[in-house]
Amino acid sequence: MQQEVVLGMLAKEPSSGSQLRARLNDALGPLGEAVNEGQIYVTLSRLERAGLIARQGTGAPEAGRKAYELTAAGQERVAEWLSEVSWPKPDLAEFHLKLVAAAQAGLADPIGIVDAQRRELLRRLREVGRAAMAEPEGSRAGLLLEGIVLRLQADLRWLEACERAWMDRRKK
């Protein structure tokens, strides 16, 4: 679990691990299934050691209900995270090089590789589409699923461009 995500979820108010999990599940919908509660606790203890969060209050914690809160350093880290412009990297270069390698060595037809990839992406699109349809209107997770749909569509469009280009090359 990415530390900043847990910090960010904690920024709303002091919370226990299970409260954080509920908040993540609400935002992630069907993707929340991938969240393992154990990972949240591991991350929390790392963040505590790093001084970014602290157990709330000094008295004995109520049984099983340890609430954590951000320290000043933790708040600073959250603010930094919000202002970062990092973005997940799709690894298109690898696929591109796969097509080049297949064509150069004459090992496989690049267009066959593109077709196989398209089938896989369409199957994914089908699954994500179904999950999106199952979300109630205005669901936060629905917005995330829409993002995945749009990305898959962009990838499919690029595959179309790959197909056209390799088809033209074949004709030459």
């Binding site: 997940p88 398209r118 089938r119 369409l122 699954e127 994500v128 349809m133 829409e146 898959l152 499919l156």
Partner: protein
């Protein structure tokens, strides 16, 4: 026919061919295609504009006549039907959904859905009952009295889908049904197509919108009038939703 009726394809095409022009300007829009669509199947045909997919759909629905080849719909040979026979076929056996909705602007949603049933000779009372039921199915009961101009794009397409079902057609043919819709309206139409599938209605949709194609059980890619790839989409995607989002939890 000797085949078991439940296994017999709804659509069967052999060497289906449609060309326009002649000499240098000859275009083979649909180039000797073989196709079978089984009852209850949803099939998506994808391809760039000009690949012949709309022409193929028009042939399947009797909106156009092939230059050559054989075509059966529900066990009946239709490539050689008369104009009158084709008109009857379109009225009774085929439900059409178009990109531009093609609703009658001066009729209410309810009247638009009643129209095909009336044209097919049903009683006004029966047509009204059926239209109410269909508008209810597409979630537009409260909008039944509205003119198309008072409806959103997604709602208009839902009315058009209800209309397509008015005569309990053998098959629904859809040409870019989400082509004019924004993302939210597309989702409404996707849900309805899922519903058609669940209800066991046979659907052929031609599109370049991958989202609607992905609701189908089978997808065919078309280029320059021929089928170049075919795949079953149901099941078999590797990984899970979280993987697709790059979200490791």
């Amino acid at each position: 026919m000797n085949e078991n009726a439940s296994c017999a394809p709804i659509v069967r095409a052999r060497g289906l061919h449609k060309e326009y022009g002649s000499g240098e300007g000859l275009v083979r829009a649909v180039d000797e295609i073989d196709l079978e669509v089984t009852p209850g199947e949803t099939l998506a045909i994808m391809g760039p504009s000009g690949c012949g997919k709309s022409t193929l759909l028009h042939l399947l629905g009797g909106l156009d006549r092939p230059s050559a080849g054989e075509l059966w719909l529900a066990g009946r040979r239709i490539d050689s039907l008369s104009e009158r026979g084709l008109a009857q076929l379109r009225r009774h056996d085929v439900g059409f959904v178009f990109q531009a909705f093609h609703l009658m602007d001066e009729l209410t949603a309810q009247e638009n859905v009643e129209l095909p049933a009336l044209l097919a000779g049903r009683s006004p009372r029966e047509a009204r009952r059926r239209a109410r039921q269909l508008l209810d199915q597409v979630g537009l009961c409260e909008r039944a009295g509205h003119l198309p101009s008072a409806l959103s794009g997604g709602q208009r397409q839902r009315v058009a889908i209800a209309r397509a079902l008015a005569n309990e057609p053998q098959i629904v043919l859809a040409d870019e049904p989400t082509g004019n819709l924004d993302s939210a309206a597309t989702l409404e139409v996707l849900r309805l197509f899922e519903g058609l599938h669940t209800a066991g209605i046979t659907v052929v949709v031609v599109t370049h919108d991958e989202r609607i194609a992905a609701t189908a059980g089978r997808m065919i890619s078309m280029r320059d009038g021929v089928f170049v790839d075919e795949t079953r989409l149901a099941g078999g995607a590797r990984g899970n939703l979280a993987d697709f989002a790059g979200w490791g939890g």
